[in-house]
Symmetry: C2
Subunit: 121 residues, 2 copies
Amino acid sequence: MKKPDVVAALAALAQDNRLDVFRLLVEAGPEGLPAGQVAQKLALAPNTLTFHFDRLRDAGLVTVRRDGRSMIYAARFEAMNALIGFLTENCCQGSQNATAEACAPAAVCKPARGKRAKAEA
Amino acid sequence: MKKPDVVAALAALAQDNRLDVFRLLVEAGPEGLPAGQVAQKLALAPNTLTFHFDRLRDAGLVTVRRDGRSMIYAARFEAMNALIGFLTENCCQGSQNATAEACAPAAVCKPARGKRAKAEA
DNA sequence: AGAATATTTCGATAATCATCGAAATATCGC
DNA sequence: GCGATATTTCGATGATTATCGAAATATTCT
């Protein structure tokens, strides 16, 4: 993943509603969700949602396909992993220098099936 | 790490120059770097750089301390790890559903001392 | 074809952002 | 205290952003 793509992905996720949208799609899994369902769950105007979907799509974080009159959006886990990979490699090293804090090793993409532990907030 | 903090951190990193600044600080390690040195390495005007530092600082991604007439900025690895943790937990699950692509497990904060492998681009 | 549903496109608007030049502040060495 | 160095503050500016209402497009059903 090259830097411009990383910046684009970060920018796409750096917005309240968009982060919610993406998280919802992640939770929904590879099947994805129809735009309307996302709009309803997050209480977003359909045109505003289109705006956000476009940005997530431009950043390569989601895909769309049509199903009847619905548009089904789905998270691209591949892209998300590439992003995390970049951040990990480029923005989280030097940890062995760190004093006490810092760098609790953690696995990327843990199984976490059953309604994960509410994620703290 | 709560969602607003996550959004703030993502926004802070979602800018070309700022991502460079942060990466430089990460590379520099906990010791940090004087503002002037960062300005020089990245060819940024000092006032512009202050602007970016402020944003990184508001997002909790860097710290400052004064040393003589220099201001020394340093990356907060702790915050970076929290961010990666959030993304991993909240935005990278459902992987076991994923078909082939997706979710190559990787360690957060690998040692990576000797001038890491150029990071692809 | 015509009504209904799902989503997108268009145009406008207020807010935030990145950058700049000029001036201010803090610290050092003399 | 004075000149020099390092960085920040201030004010302005053009660009991008998120949201909205209204209209357009696509698809299904009858």
